[in-house]
């Protein structure tokens, strides 16, 4: 499905969010392919960091254009990623509507690239997993991947002060197939949370594929953190590229 590693180019870009704001992003794309799908890569709460940009380059090396929106472009333009995350957190995080606008603009940007095949997926980890699900419910996308997103089921505690809303009721409006990758030992989302999400998707007749990976807790993809689990991460990446290959390759709908 993804038979070889591609040459790639990567750069910082500026693109318009659907709400008109100008957003910083990191764009990585294959430079030796005439046609490729796009993937919006949503960074986690700790910010627009190096590890997320490296994921974008991994997608590009596998033949996808990948755009990471800096979700804190408005709150802390030009700040170091960790400082921007701290500033955004101190302001209560970013509203869901703003996130959806930024992903919508990113998807439009990817569809407009020379060589784009017109199909766009979304992936996010941790808080980004929740936001990937949210985006796929609010936007017309072609594939979505939720990697251990907490609070897709349930609500962040009120004392968090953050602007995230419950999402499970949005399941009937999911616009595309969903791949869910979870750690079997994770507490947020727990196996019960995953089962509840799965039940909602089944009830809504949605196309989904869930995998709970043994020996892994939360954050098993994060190569720069102690939660990294090499076996689960390798399995997870295989699931990611199999899923995207099936849903994003070929002609646009």
């Amino acid at each position: 499905m993804n038979p070889r590693t591609h040459n790639l180019s990567a750069q910082t870009v500026s693109y318009p969010s659907a709400d008109g704001a100008q957003i910083e992003g990191f764009l990585a794309q294959p430079s030796d392919l005439g046609s490729f799908p796009g993937v919006v890569v949503i960074h986690h709460l700790p910010g627009y960091d190096q590890a997320t940009k490296e994921m974008a380059m991994k997608f590009a090396s596998q033949g996808y254009a990948a755009l990471v929106p800096n979700l804190y472009s408005r709150e802390a333009p030009g700040a170091a990623p960790d400082d921007a995350a701290a500033i955004a957190r101190a302001q209560g995080g970013i509203p869901d509507d703003q996130l959806v606008s930024d992903v919508e603009g990113a998807a439009r940007e990817l569809r407009g690239l020379a060589g784009a095949n017109g199909k766009v997926g979304v992936i996010g980890h941790c808080s980004g997993g929740r936001q990937a699900f949210l985006s796929a419910c609010r936007l017309r996308l072609d594939a979505a991947i939720d990697c251990y997103g907490a609070f897709v089921v349930g609500t962040p505690p009120p004392e968090s002060g953050l602007k995230a809303q419950p999402l499970l009721d949005l399941a009937p409006s999911l616009s595309c197939p969903l791949l869910g990758l979870f750690g079997a030992d994770d507490k947020f989302p727990s196996p019960a949370h995953v089962a509840e999400l799965e039940a909602a998707l089944r009830a809504a007749g949605k196309d989904y594929e869930f995998h709970s990976l043994a020996g892994a807790g939360h954050g098993f993809f994060a190569v720069d953190r102690p939660s990294y689990r090499v076996e689960a991460a390798n399995q997870g990446w295989a699931f990611v590229f199999d899923f995207l290959g099936r849903h994003l390759r070929g002609a646009a709908a």
Binding site: H44, D82, G93
Partner: protein, 89 residues
């Protein structure tokens, strides 16, 4: 997980980063992923300079839960042992 657990508060004081001091006016206290500490989760403290000058936006500390408890207890101890008339507020 990203716990989202965050307390925000107004503070009065100063902090030093590198060679520079600045007044700080707000702080965040949260239990979530660290940026640098070798732990899955940590107690994170951010002190912000409202004028955004001198501190390069914030002074940040990430502590293990046990270290954070020890710090909180130590702060309470020194305040409890200080002469009350020296503690104006």
């Amino acid at each position: 997980m990203c716990t989202y657990l965050t307390e925000r508060l107004a503070v009065e004081g100063s902090a030093k980063a590198g060679e520079r001091w600045a007044a700080v006016s707000s702080a965040s206290v949260y239990f979530d992923h660290p940026v640098h500490a070798n732990a899955e989760h940590s107690v994170n403290l951010d002190f912000f300079d409202a004028r955004d000058s001198g501190l390069s936006r914030r002074v940040a500390v990430e502590l293990t839960p046990s270290a954070a408890r020890e710090l909180a207890a130590a702060i309470e101890r020194v305040l409890a042992s200080a002469p009350a008339e020296l503690i104006a507020n």
